[in-house]
């Protein structure tokens, strides 16, 4: 590709190529604190290609390509190039990663112990992890929690936080340094999006795993409530939240059983971030 860069997030190394300079320049700025892959070897390649003949210049339109691709994915506008890169990297992890059990979840850490939060899009797991990351917790990731099948530890994947819609203003109130925010991408297929660079210490500790001690299923937009989630329900919901559970076979089964039988799980409904954080702090304090 004409423009390219490399970066490492947690244990995964990416080569990003683009037919346009703008997405790569934005990536270089936002991922400036991230390390380069060892020996310049990438696990995955993501390419932003023109969606058709002439579409590099005329109404530039991006097709996401790479080692793993969705053939029917709709092209995206070049002004949403950063989102295209994010989607491309997520796709490589979701379809290709086999070194850990991959759960679609956010995670934060305190004193070597990890809180894992999973839920459907809009549940607030990403925003809550980002907020906690500014309030004394180590941000480990807003998209994927990587479970080590041998040890049960959670490994970080602290990519840029993808803030959507109302979460953008919530995090602008939380983070004073404007340089940590990417450009506002309006009216993307996922709504308005701004990327946020995680705290520097979270990036510096991106290869440091933590022991999972609590699993939450947050749900935004409901009156404050919480209930314990049984191991059977947690197991079933986590198989649905994992993109590689089936591919890992027996190894994934044993890892997930170990996780749900050792980590207490709760469903937490909440109406705003402050309410959720108070509830999380109380639950955390009550842990043995």
């Amino acid at each position: 590709m004409k423009y390219q860069c490399m970066l490492r997030i947690g244990p995964a190394a990416f080569r990003i190529g683009s037919a346009w300079a703008e997405p790569i320049e934005a990536l270089r700025r936002l991922y400036a604190l991230y390390p380069q892959p060892q020996d310049a070897i990438a696990d995955y390649t993501v390419r932003l290609e023109p969606a058709g003949v002439g579409r590099r210049c005329w109404r530039p339109s991006v097709r996401i390509a790479g080692d793993h691709m969705l053939p029917d994915a709709a092209p995206m506008a070049l002004r949403h190039g950063l989102l295209a890169v994010e989607m491309g990297m997520n796709l490589q992890m979701a379809l290709g990663w086999r070194r850990h059990l991959l759960i679609h979840a956010s995670s934060v850490e305190k004193n070597g112990r990890a809180l894992v939060m999973t839920g459907e899009s809009g549940s607030g797991k990403s925003t809550l992890a980002a907020m906690l990351g500014e309030r004394g917790w180590r941000f480990m990731g807003d998209e994927f929690a990587l479970i080590d099948c041998a040890t049960g530890m959670v490994h970080p994947f602290p990519r840029l936080v993808s803030l959507k819609n109302r979460a953008i203003e919530a995090m602008r109130d939380e983070v004073a340094n404007a340089d940590r925010f990417g450009p506002l991408m309006e009216a993307t297929p996922k709504g308005d999006i701004v990327h946020l660079v995680p705290p520097e210490s979270a990036i510096a500790r991106m290869v440091e795993p933590a022991k999972p001690v609590m699993l939450l299923f947050p749900r935004y937009g409901f009156p404050l409530d919480q209930r314990p989630v049984g191991q059977g329900e947690a197991f079933m919901r986590l198989t649905q939240a994992s993109t590689n559970y089936v591919a890992l076979g027996e190894q994934g089964f044993q890892a997930l059983h170990r996780f749900v039988s050792g980590v207490p799980a709760l469903a937490v409904d909440y109406e705003d971030g402050e309410q959720a954080i108070s509830a999380i702090d109380a639950l955390w304090e009550a842990l043995p």
């Binding site: 049984g230 191991q231 059977g232 079933m236 089936v246 027996e250 089964f253 044993q254 039988s261």
Partner: protein
């Protein structure tokens, strides 16, 4: 009635299971979590399915004999609809690939 043909209660049908080492079994809050190695499939089953699965032999067994085994283990009444209910549970296990019927 020919050998192997089911009567109205299906009691002549023979059922069996794969060798125990083909299944990994864990308890999950009273539910039973299974990983079936030959298929790579995960199942979560509830009582009485785990008990029926445990009573199944690797050799084909008649329904009536299996009901006898369960009656001994769990103090079951073998009258009424017991045979039909057991057959329904066994057929569910067969559909999951956890039990088999003899040819």
């Amino acid at each position: 009635m020919q050998q192997g043909e089911a009567d109205s209660s299906g009691s002549a049908r023979h059922y069996y299971r794969d060798a125990p080492e083909t299944l990994i079994e864990h308890d999950l809050d009273g539910l039973t979590l299974l990983f079936h190695r030959p298929s790579g499939q995960t199942h979560i089953i509830d009582s009485p399915m785990p008990e029926i699965l445990a009573a199944l032999s690797c050799e084909p067994q008649e329904l009536r004999a299996l009901l006898g085994v369960l009656a001994d283990r769990y103090d079951l009444a073998v009258d009424g609809d017991a045979m039909q209910e057991l057959k329904a549970h066994l057929d569910a296990l067969v559909s999951l690939g956890l039990a088999r019927t003899a040819p």
